[in-house]
Symmetry: C2
Subunit: 668 residues, 2 copies
């Protein structure tokens, strides 16, 4: 059960946790809200293949037409909706899906091709710009929608046309003399093809995914040059005209697409961060499916993951410091906001990190992957949707600034992020749990990666296994497990986060083994202990930034939740908290809060004293600021009476000026 | 005597100081070396107006032809040489100047026009691209060369043709209906025109300078749009094709040229830093010449200066964090090197800061301007030439990195910096001293801004004033003054740097008044005290960076000299000193050093202990680095036995790996 998109079907998420409440909001509000936006913007009817005025509009991000992602916007909504309909029936959503599928089917060309832009706007030019035009990205998302649709509706109304389209791709791309030796500018289809192969067993689906992955970055791919450059020359591109997201001319920017070198040779993670995550997710899947022929990829995958988490990841799980290419900066370049030189931290990128982490857990059960997965979920990902489910972020900076407030938007021209939340929350049970069944031995190994109140149910030889976890995570560290296994031998592995200083269990399991961050409870013990409680104490702690980031800041965390300060609770602030500095030695108060306006429950934290506000430094100092005078000046800085922290994900839900910050200067 | 280019003629710089020795090197080596480069590269003969193979080469920095600055390269060499020939006769240099002037004269077109590119490469296109093509920048430097030439040779062989060219410009540009309402993309001619006006008294020279300064940034300059955009449309520019130095399309990048708004409305200093400095230098001159009609400019000038020095200047006096546009980043964005996200700190930009500071001192005698002037001189500017006078830097980063070593080059395609050092060192006496003469009262006010062993000589009504300063500055803080004034009443103002904690005088002047950083010695006292000693104790001190820079670093300074660590003296270093952190409480040893290889004398400083080396941080920390664990890890970091500092300007003279750093992490 390697894929959360299928594994989630064995789970049910209870309504009474933070994640459960967010899913309730999504079902009650977001699905229908987004459906209405799809209709209002023209996306809903786009597969009717009529001209839309948007197609004439100048591009916002040259050379990408503004409507280029419409196929995937619809597909991602369908996919997310199909997951969520399992949780709650919504007739209007159900009806829309069926209508959309009919329109998509009718848009397919006789040879299987299926793409709005190249059918309506630029017919005859298909597959001439793999680098920029997202044809296969759209196709990948439609394959994923088709798989979700097929699972929910138990028919192949969407899957069958997508398989026909993939047949065309399998003919078109590959190493053969008559084939194009290309690969997508924006990876996504690779992971979709591997999932399709999991369903169809058709070896050519696996082969095409492997081809796309291994051919990528080949410097001598076609006529002794990289495919993307060859293709651009064939189009007659003027290389001096740089796409908006390229800092230099095209030949120097293949790293944007992770196509500057074969993946196995890439020393560091580079470029557009969503592309990188989708690509590496497929790489991880391929390693799991064909481990023996993927040794080099495995080495590269660990190298790139480590480079990312050790040197290019924000404390919120966000990745991508650079707005221009929505992607990675240099090692340790992690400014908190625009006024510090950057910070992008795209929602979809952190969803991609979760996808990749979930895949890595399938090939290597190490809690370090799950820790990052959870970090992303409760911080960068959760903050991307407003409390009412109708506002979204694209980037998730760690500090606001006058240049860039941390407000949410109703929608985006490039609308990848909003429907991605649907998809993720719809299948979140598949991230919380994983399980391996051994039919012949009537046994199973179950892992709980995330502590979300939920249950897992599956059967082996007619025996039903039913495991429930219940608790108030992430606010309360007690998790109650109830396990019913019949005669099945179930081994249970519970993740112990790296930040947990102590754990308790009641009753204690004397044979429990703790390895790579998982506590293994043997099947024999489980058979004797149908109910037990795991306790992971949650208390505020300060996180630091690596010294090489030049962020001499500390960030407050409690369990997996990273905190921020916001002006709503600290109304004196005038400078986006840029001048606040704190002494980590000082003590906290925790408060159980039910927010007046939103009804959301969370733990707020107050630092009663120990915070000060940077004084106006005498201009005469600069630029030859005397270190001793500065120190004295800081020591006499005016104190801040109290500093109130809220979970970062909850920011920008209650009005205010939009002043917010995660990392606060460390008073030394 | 407002202009150092003329004032310097009243001074003579002694050979026995750091600056004196650099001038000796320039006369013995650099002038002839650069002359040879001018010849080898084709610049020397370019005014013969023959085709050169370089004119066919693809541009390195599109759309700027590689040879576009050749006029100014030659002009700046002539100008610098004319200053230095006053100090030391060099027949080969003298001969070359005369030959070059002949070639320049022969290159002038019948209507006065004089420019290599538009005569040879693109005839007929003159004045069609003021934004990019540096026509008037070249002209400005040629005017300055002509003034220097006229002063030294006492003829107008170069000045006369330049005045003819300026006549053409005066006809071509201005507010008249038949005139072009343009201004230069790269300011320089403005300050040259003001100096020319100082010589000629011709009001149209002043008027053209004022027009260029005040018309700049007019959004409705021509046909309701900015001149540069109007001009680009007229050329048929494709705006999506961005010049290499524009991060966005042309209409969004007028700030690069300080043309995004009229100067009086600009809130912050932006764009290419050399352009900004040359422009503001002319603004300061204009304010001095016509104070009553320049109130708004005066307000803007202070605002922009303060923004620069308080928020956009490195501890070395360097400006410009951003390589792409060779210019200013956001407020407080001052990373030390490429691997931290930037650092450019161009040589010419700091020379420009010195020019501007020197002009500001003429309108407001405040030592804060002189402090910055001196900071630039002894650090960013002095480091830009190797000890042998044959190696040069363009950018002057504060830390090396694997991406960007701090080596010097023999020359550059865009060769603005190397001859700029000649010009500056040639006229440095004019920066050290300024003097105002009151003929009718037989009095003078003399200010000593820089403590460079030198003398100043001028006469009033037949009485000679001769003031000498002698000392070992910047290594020794004692300066001996000898003043001969005849019957002239000379008031002397001595700069007391802001960092000077105490000063002594022997004999003490009881009537001395200290105001805005200058110690005024009344004429009566001077008349009684022909010799005295000023002592400004020099001892190592730590400078800090403003907290908003996110540089939690300290830099060592002693007097005006900023220090760095270099691998030659600290051979254990592997990481460009990125992981070294120091405790500013620890004590120093100072050493008088005469360098084996170079013979250069300086004070070296050793921090005997208190420096440690960042340990390899456990990867498991990242990105949720526990603040307490990090602190413990740093406290147990391996000590560095001793840390040897050398003056920053002296780096990269003795081989080594090129590892160097100014700001070291502050151990807290």
């Amino acid at each position: 059960m390697a894929y959360p998109q299928t594994a989630f079907a064995a789970t049910s998420v209870h309504d009474n946790s933070l994640i459960g409440r967010r899913r309730t909001t999504v079902c009650a509000s977001t699905l229908l809200y987004q459906l209405q936006v799809l209709k209002d913007t023209g996306r809903y009817d786009a597969f009717k293949l009529k001209w839309h005025p948007v197609y004439d509009e100048p591009t916002v991000v040259w050379p990408i037409p503004n409507h280029l992602f419409w196929d995937s916007d619809v597909a991602k909504w369908i996919e997310g909706a199909c997951y969520l309909l399992k949780h709650k029936a919504i007739p209007e959503v159900d009806h829309a899906i069926q209508e959309l599928v009919e329109m998509i089917r009718s848009a397919q060309q006789p040879d299987g091709y299926l793409n709005i832009h190249y059918t309506v706007v630029e017919p005859g030019k298909r597959f001439t710009n793999l680098r920029d035009m997202h044809e296969m990205y759209n196709c990948g998302h439609m394959i994923e929608a088709a798989l979700a649709h097929s699972d929910f509706y138990r028919n192949d109304l969407l899957l069958a046309p997508m398989i026909r389209y993939v047949d065309l791709l399998c003919e078109t791309f590959g190493p053969g003399a008559s084939q194009l030796h290309g690969y997508p500018g924006h990876p996504e289809i690779e992971l979709a093809l591997l999932r399709l192969h999991d369903r169809t067993g058709d070896p050519k689906h696996l082969a095409l995914a492997r081809y796309f992955i291994t051919e990528r970055g080949n410097h001598k791919g076609v006529e002794d040059e990289s495919y993307f450059l060859w293709e651009a020359r064939k189009r007659g591109d003027d290389f001096s005209r740089r796409p908006a997201f390229y800092p230099k001319e095209a030949p120097k920017c293949l790293w944007y697409h992770q196509a500057h070198a074969p993946i196995i040779e890439q020393p560091t993670i580079e470029g557009h961060s969503v592309r990188a995550m989708y690509l590496l997710t497929a790489v991880a899947d391929l390693i799991r499916i064909e481990p023996s022929s993927s040794q080099d990829l495995n080495t590269a995958l660990y190298r790139l993951w480590n480079n990312m988490t050790d040197r290019k990841m924000y404390v919120t799980g966000g990745i991508g410091a650079i707005e221009q290419w929505e992607g990675f900066g240099q090692d340790f370049f992690l400014p908190q906001g625009t006024d510090e030189g950057g910070c992008y931290s795209e929602t979809c990128a952190s969803i991609g990190v979760m996808m990749l982490a979930q895949r890595l857990l399938q090939i290597d059960l190490d809690a370090k992957f799950a820790d990052i997965m959870e970090l992303c979920l409760y911080n960068t990902v959760l903050t991307s949707m407003s409390h009412d489910g109708k506002g979204f972020t694209y980037d998730n900076q760690l500090a606001s600034s006058d240049e860039s407030h941390s407000k949410r938007s109703e929608w985006f021209t490039v609308a990848c992020c909003p429907p991605n939340i649907l998809r993720l929350l719809g299948q979140i049970g598949g991230y919380a749990w994983s399980f391996d069944i051994n039919q012949s031995q009537q046994s199973a190994v179950v892992a709980a990666h995330l502590y979300i109140s939920s249950s897992l149910k599956f059967s082996i030889g007619g025996q039903e296994v039913h495991i429930t976890q219940n608790g108030g995570w992430p606010w309360n560290g007690d998790i109650d497990f109830v396990v019913e296994t019949g005669s099945v031998a179930v081994t249970l592995k519970l993740r112990i986060p790296q930040w947990a200083t102590t754990i308790e269990m009641q009753p204690w399991c004397p044979d429990a083994v703790r390895e790579k961050g998982y506590l293994t409870l043997p099947a024999e013990w489980i058979a004797q202990n149908r109910a037990f409680k795991l306790s992971i104490p949650l208390k505020p702690r300060w996180l630091a930034a690596h010294p090489f980031t030049n962020q001499n800041t500390v960030s407050l965390a409690r369990g997996p939740v990273v905190y921020c300060v916001e002006d709503v609770d600290n109304q004196w602030v005038q400078d986006h908290f840029k001048g606040v500095f704190v002494n980590p030695q000082n003590s906290f108060e925790e408060h159980q809060i039910v927010d007046d306006k939103t009804g959301d429950e969370y733990v707020g934290i107050t630092l009663q004293d120990g915070a000060r506000n940077l004084p106006e430094l005498a201009a005469a100092f600069a630029p030859m600021l005397d270190a001793e005078k500065l120190k004295a000046s800081l020591e006499h800085a005016p104190p801040v009476s109290a500093l109130h922290f809220i979970p970062y994900y909850f920011r920008s839900n209650r009005g205010g000026k939009g002043h917010m910050r995660v990392g606060l200067k460390h008073a030394s």
